[in-house]
């Protein structure tokens, strides 16, 4: 087995919510309180929990978009937290993020071709023509047309924008992508195409995903392993099938029981349907349901 893609241990982040007259913190809110986990290359780790559970904070902490208070993050064998800014920037070629709201995650003043090209400009030493060609390839890979490259984000639908965001994330051949509620802002009918794309890309490129969602059914389909978070703490962690079949923690059980059972989920499964469904669930997990190769939770 290869070295882990991402190793996180004891990650903590607190926010000051009140200060006294001298600016000293008198009250703190723990957003993330000591989270540890491991992610193997080419696999998906789902993080579920209700709003405010600290899921998104974990995603941003891992990429050091926010600075944690303590803990360690090892990404691709490198200590992310000890890195100087410059190296951190070059690491970001290999570790990307997809945001919840596709409408605001692209600069409204920049045509989408340029937006995708930008990450190449920042990292890769390519000629202008090569960059343009590569951006075009990427956009076509996610299902856009060449003539759409010089359009502004406002001219696209949410699903298209999210695919553009994925193309942008892919520009530098990353190994790891944090997907922060990537389909939560999309119509249910469009969610499938984005999720399909993510799964296809994982199969093609061996990407590792940190998939953050409040939607348990999504996580169940996509993730090999699942972390359940509640108020900044990990309450339960394990291979997806196992966790869904036999939840240990009371909160997990509560969460599971809150899924509108039977019909809606089945209907969604049907909507994804037949051939689509088989591609939605990667072969590996179809065979083993993620149990045999389950990431070793470190708690």
């Amino acid at each position: 087995m290869s070295a882990p893609l991402l190793e996180v241990s004891g990650l903590r982040k607190t926010y000051v919510t009140k200060r006294n007259v001298w600016g000293k913190a008198t009250q703190r809110l723990t957003a993330v309180g000591g989270v540890s986990f491991t992610l193997e290359p080419g696999r998906t780790l789902g993080i579920v929990g209700e709003t405010g559970a600290g899921k998104s904070t974990v995603g941003r902490l891992v990429l050091r978009l926010i600075e944690p208070d303590s803990g360690s993050v090892k990404l691709l064998g490198q200590d992310v937290l000890a890195m100087p800014r410059k190296e951190l920037r070059s690491l970001r070629a290999k570790a990307q993020m997809i945001f919840q709201d596709p409408f605001s995650s692209l600069d409204p003043r920049m045509v989408i071709g340029a937006a995708v090209e930008e990450s190449l400009t920042v990292h890769a030493d390519l000629s202008k023509a090569d960059r343009e060609q590569r951006s075009l390839d990427l956009l076509q890979r996610v299902g856009l047309r060449a003539d759409q490259m010089d359009r502004y984000p406002r001219e696209f639908s949410g699903g298209q924008l999210q695919r553009i965001a994925i193309a942008r994330a892919l520009a530098n051949d990353p190994d790891f992508i944090v997907c922060d509620e990537p389909v939560a802002a999309l119509d249910v009918s469009i969610q499938a195409q984005v999720l399909n794309l993510l799964l296809d890309l994982q199969a093609e490129r061996g990407l590792g995903y940190l998939f953050i969602s409040h939607d348990l059914s999504l996580v169940r389909f996509l993730a090999h392993d699942v972390i359940v978070m509640y108020k900044g703490e990990v309450v339960e962690m394990g291979p997806t099938a196992q966790l869904f079949a036999d939840p240990q923690h009371a909160y997990t059980r509560k969460l599971l029981s809150a899924i509108p059972v039977a019909q809606p989920r089945r209907e969604r499964a049907r909507a994804l349907s037949g051939a689509v469904l088989s591609s939605l669930i990667p072969p590996a997990s179809l065979a083993s349901a993620g149990v045999t190769q389950g990431g070793r939770p470190s708690c």
């Binding site: 990307q96 890979r141 299902g143 520009a171």
Partner: protein, 331 residues
């Protein structure tokens, strides 16, 4: 920019299924003509510009300002006389075919002086505006984006500047540097920087919380790149509007300072000094005021009107008025 009709304008948007791609795209997409890439294209089809073109007052102002610029650039060719040539025989003449706008107390040709003065005034506008922009905008973007102690110090400084009546501060600065047009423009540039700083700071602050800024950081953009490629373009609308208004304020300030003898100095002349000349001979020949007054007022009015039009266009107010609200009933 020519007014050649473009296909998109006349064509109703056609909605068809997207061409089959690898993904089954359930969304429907407008089909546009394939477009040539390039900034000119982007500008020509931008909605604000189209709206601005429909604003007649703003366009009239723009045309006036363009003509003024042309007249200033080609002043040596257009002037009928040497603006400083004095002639005691010709003094205090009314308009004639020889002197289109008459002559002043020294027998100088008013039309030629007006042209050359416009040149001085416009150049002053460019100088002061550049200084204000260079002082205010980068610092404002930086303060709003980086925050922290840098922001605190800069904001205090510009707040202090803002709490002074502009003309008084400008006069004080001229008093320190000595009266000259360049010094007057330095003073005005300093005085006009705080509003730009504030705007830039506010815009940078609001832009910096947008997801796309975080997304760009996630890509690995440097701070510098973020500020110049993402924050500045997104903050540019209010700044552009403010710069236009500032230009009008500079014309007022230049006229005021030169009128007081603290700006443009002999042998140069600006509209402000022409007004001063008229004031000095106000009992003999009050009509000298007319020409520079008309120019000053029209120029200020044009900057203000164009600024209003620009703001309406960039904020999309006119669009709303057209599309969302029914036209207000006339009473």
């Amino acid at each position: 920019m020519s007014e050649t009709p473009r296909p998109e304008d006349s064509e109703a948007p056609v909605v068809v299924e997207e061409a089959p791609t690898q993904l089954a795209d359930s969304t429907q997409v407008e089909v546009h003509q394939p477009r040539q890439r390039g900034w000119l294209h982007g500008i020509r089809r931008s909605r604000p510009l189209r709206q601005l073109r429909r604003n007649r007052a703003a366009m009239a102002s723009l045309i006036f300002l363009l003509l003024l610029t042309l007249a200033s650039v080609f002043a040596p060719l257009l002037a009928t006389h040497d603006p400083n040539a004095q002639s005691l025989i010709d003094q205090l003449q009314g308009p004639s075919s020889e002197h289109w706008l008459g002559t002043d107390t020294f027998g100088r040709d008013v039309f030629s002086r007006l042209l050359y003065s416009g040149r001085v005034t416009l150049l002053a506008v460019v100088q002061a505006l550049t200084l204000a922009a260079v002082l205010g905008i980068p610092l404002g973007l930086l303060a709003g984006f980086i925050k922290g102690p840098v922001d605190a110090v800069l904001s205090r400084l510009f707040d202090a500047l803002l709490s002074l009546p502009p003309l008084i501060l400008a006069i004080a600065i001229v008093g320190i540097l000595g009266p000259s047009l360049t010094n007057a423009m330095i003073a005005i540039g300093i005085v006009l920087a705080p509003p730009l700083f504030r705007l830039a700071r506010g815009a940078a602050q609001s832009v910096s919380t947008e997801t796309y800024v975080e997304a760009c950081r996630a890509i690995g953009c440097s701070q510098w790149r973020l500020i110049w490629r993402h924050v500045l373009p997104n903050a540019s609308s209010p700044l552009l509007v403010q710069l236009t208004f500032s230009a009008g304020i500079i014309v007022i300030a230049e006229a005021s300072l030169s009128f007081l003898g603290l700006g443009t100095q002999i042998p140069q002349s600006s509209w402000g000094t022409m007004l001063r000349d008229a004031f000095d001979s106000i009992y003999d020949s009050p009509w000298f005021m007319i020409a520079p007054t008309v120019m000053v007022v029209l120029t200020i009015l044009s900057f203000a009107t164009f600024g209003d039009g620009l703001r309406d266009a960039l904020e999309g107010r006119g669009v709303q008025r057209v599309s969302k609200k029914p036209p207000a009933p006339r009473t």
